[in-house]
Symmetry: C2
Subunit: 487 residues, 2 copies
């Protein structure tokens, strides 16, 4: 039985590299059928605010698999990136990118004789990519960095499963939990919990800056790394650089209902239509898709012929030995086709058993709620009120105390500026911006209500501009907020 997938050609060089890849698939009798969908720049231009037609959306949601070329989002029109929209709206929570030394593609690391073979799994929905930002004052912008327990669990579990499927031995968690103790701390905590279910896999964690230092000096240390969204973005592009750039690395966005396989390089409008673009990244993404769909023997055969072809020095104009002639896109694809059945010198990749994935047949009716379902005792402790002010901390403390005049249940415990405590004690050298945090906590033995707290903030707002309010909670007896530097 054939599997039907949605295909979007993309913009710029998209159509020609897609054609090359599908030609290779056809030559190898890959059991896929394609339904081409309308997405990309011209659909933005035609007035589709999401960059795709309703028909395209429907087809993708029906088939559950999208294979896409690079796409361009028009700039300055206030529309969101079609690539980001696709990842978010369809909840493809895991971005997987495989990076491997390709013989024939010269890099700093190939020159130094250091082989690269590693996989990055990046969380794809959360972190600052939630895009929740506010200007609190004209001088102060705040972005909310969200990390959730169930969202972390989804991507971490995917990473462990991927490691096991690939036959890797280890998985590292990259993070910055030493600084971002609650957010990255949560991600790391979930990593350690999930790791217990995979005793066959060596789980370790590493601070992200140390990770980057090691990736550029001893990348052989790693097999697979899972990270939060922004750190994963940075680390995966760093790794692309190790193997020759975005033109040589596949990308898969995996969700429970819909998954997207794409080339993440640009649309290269300057060479579009000239038939000289390099289809390698899209072909590698297509190979990942075949493997995901259970066509492991097809995937291995095509991958081996590609690796063999590159190893022979066959190249498009953007890489390889400039003293030998470069091939156009179609000729490159034909070379890969001619080499079907060949394997590279190192023996190439092996196929796992084929299997057939189920198609996304039954559309879901309600939005899915992600929850760990944990029952944890909660206690409300107080509130952080963020205010705009240019006065010195001692003066602001008097204003804050005044707001407590109708409520005896609270104490003013701390004022900070950019996270550093400036009241009741602090350093004279701490420079101040015009936004402070004022922390009120309940007195021991009292029970407080949200409503009272919001009324205190309302009273405070008569004397000073309130920008934000964050409640302070304890969960399961553990403090659910950080202390200020110096507190």
């Amino acid at each position: 039985m054939k599997t039907k997938i949605a295909v979007a050609n993309g913009d710029g060089i998209g159509p020609e590299i897609m054609q090359a890849v599908l030609k290779i698939f056809k030559a190898h009798n890959v059991p896929l059928e394609y339904e081409f969908v309308e997405m990309g720049k011209s659909y933005f231009d035609a007035g589709h605010s999401t960059g795709m037609t309703d028909q395209a959306k429907e087809t993708i949601e029906k088939l559950g698999i999208l294979f896409k070329g690079p796409m361009e989002t028009p700039k300055g029109k206030g529309v969101k990136s079609i690539n980001v929209t696709a990842r978010k709206v369809w909840n493809t929570y895991a971005n997987q990118r495989d990076f491997r030394t390709l013989n024939g593609v010269e890099t700093v690391f190939s020159k130094a004789g250091i082989p690269i073979n590693l996989t990055i799994v990046r969380e794809n929905i959360e972190d600052t990519y939630g895009g929740i930002e506010h200007l609190l004052t004209y001088d102060v912008a705040v972005g909310r960095r969200i990390i959730t327990r169930p969202g972390s669990e989804q991507v971490i579990r995917y990473a462990f499963e991927m490691v096991r499927r690939k036959g890797y031995k280890k998985l590292a968690c990259g993070h910055k939990a030493n600084i971002m103790k609650l957010t990255d701390g949560l991600f790391l905590e979930v990593f350690k919990e999930v790791a217990k279910e995979y005793p066959d896999i060596e789980a370790s964690d590493i601070i992200v800056d140390d990770l980057c230092m090691k990736l550029v000096s001893r990348p052989q240390m790693f097999e697979a790394i899972v990270l939060t969204n922004l750190q994963g973005d940075i680390v995966s592009d760093l790794c692309a650089g190790l193997v020759g750039g975005l033109g040589f690395a596949p990308s898969a966005n995996i969700g429970d209902n819909i998954s997207i396989f794409e080339a993440v390089h640009g649309t290269a409008p300057d060479i579009a239509g000239m038939g000289i673009a390099n289809p390698t990244a899209l072909l590698l993404s297509g190979i990942s898709m075949l493997r995901f769909l259970g066509y492991s023997s097809n995937a291995a055969a095509i991958e081996n012929s590609l690796l063999y072809t590159l190893e022979q020095g066959v190249h498009t104009g953007d890489f390889g030995d400039k003293s030998t002639p470069s091939l156009g896109t179609t000729d490159f694809a034909d070379a890969v086709i001619a080499n079907l059945g060949k394997v590279p010198a190192d023996g190439g990749v092996f196929a796992d058993a084929d299997f057939q994935v189920k198609q996304n047949a039954s559309p879901i009716k309600n939005k899915l709620t992600l929850s760990t379902g944990a029952k944890v005792e909660e206690e409300m402790i107080g509130v952080d009120v963020f205010v705009e002010s240019k006065v010195q901390p001692g003066e602001l403390a008097e204003v804050a105390k005044k707001s407590l005049r109708f409520n005896e249940n609270f104490n003013l415990v701390m004022i900070s500026n950019r996270g550093t405590q400036v009241w009741p004690t602090g350093s004279i050298y701490t420079e101040l911006v015009n936004e402070y945090r004022i922390r009120f906590e309940k007195k021991p033995g009292t029970t407080i209500k949200q409503k009272e707290i919001l009324h205190i903030a309302a009273d405070l707002s008569e004397d000073v501009k309130v920008c934000s309010v964050e409640f302070l909670m304890n969960f399961g007896g553990k403090i659910g907020y950080t202390l200020a530097q110096g507190q």
Copy 2:
């Protein structure tokens, strides 16, 4: 006249590498006097919660310059990192790290014949390093990422001045403003404004993931890069990897009143006291300090002798040609001393004119307020209320509307989950965590008060748990908050 500075030996290998560096300084008659201060692990252990004595703090604040060895912060005792405390409390807003190929130190890049010579300037106070984090629900953690206009201006201005002083031609701004539009957008906006004052310097900007890809493939493209705190942290450790690791790169934390020059590598307790530690990073930091203090000819002479020494293959046990014997810490220092006056094969570094910096003579009385002083028209637009809920979006919308029953000035305009709009429209595939954002905006033509908004939140809190409140403001007619994905 001699300059008096504070010196902290540090923990582990700190004392021996500091001794080696000061020996080299002495042999070259560097015009410094030292006041040794008590900081580090043993002072934490003795009950000093900040890891230093009051006397140490006083001395450092009086002298304005601290030269420090690596220090250890005891783990699990709830104390903050002494290195981070020092940077924050004394407001050393710019972290400068110079990365250069050292002949004799083999790296992937030296093997590939690619020379490295670049400087990273990292903002040192803001970003997620403010450490302001809250668990909103047991499942959802939020960190507040702060970027301020005056804080950005301080570090960006420092970077331009540094570029000019070094005789570089260009400065790049690394950022992720395509995703973090308000926060990194603000940093980039300030960069572009300040750049206008430096027409002699070629200013450009680059997305941080692309930057990392280019740094591992074509690092020669860059001379100097300025970044926000976390991205700068990641990029500077990446660059340390390019030149051989933390043992080969200096670090300076620059503030208006106090500056800190330090080795950022660890304390290596396993080899402490054995006399085999590598003093190169601390020596390079000391050379940066000499240059900062105006002793440019001392700095150049010592740097040239170090470069010459390394080039000759002289090495400690942690690097270099293992077939030649390694030297201990003191012998390595003596080799550098013996080579004073020598220059490396490429001609080495040149001295600028010496000058004498003013000492930090007059202590400040009030905290400094950082402000751009811009007068901008403000308008309050509405509020985002973040709530804990497990119901479907439509049901939550009914609850939210109910909270408006006492106030006709507002509309419920949007509900989002992890930044993606889920009401009034949204995709069925958007998975939900148990924390929603509800956005209320004022009706056109009305004027609203903070107090009314906080009362709406208080009313809402009777039906659903409120986690956070963020006011929506426009500044100078420009929208001061982001739209939800899909809004």
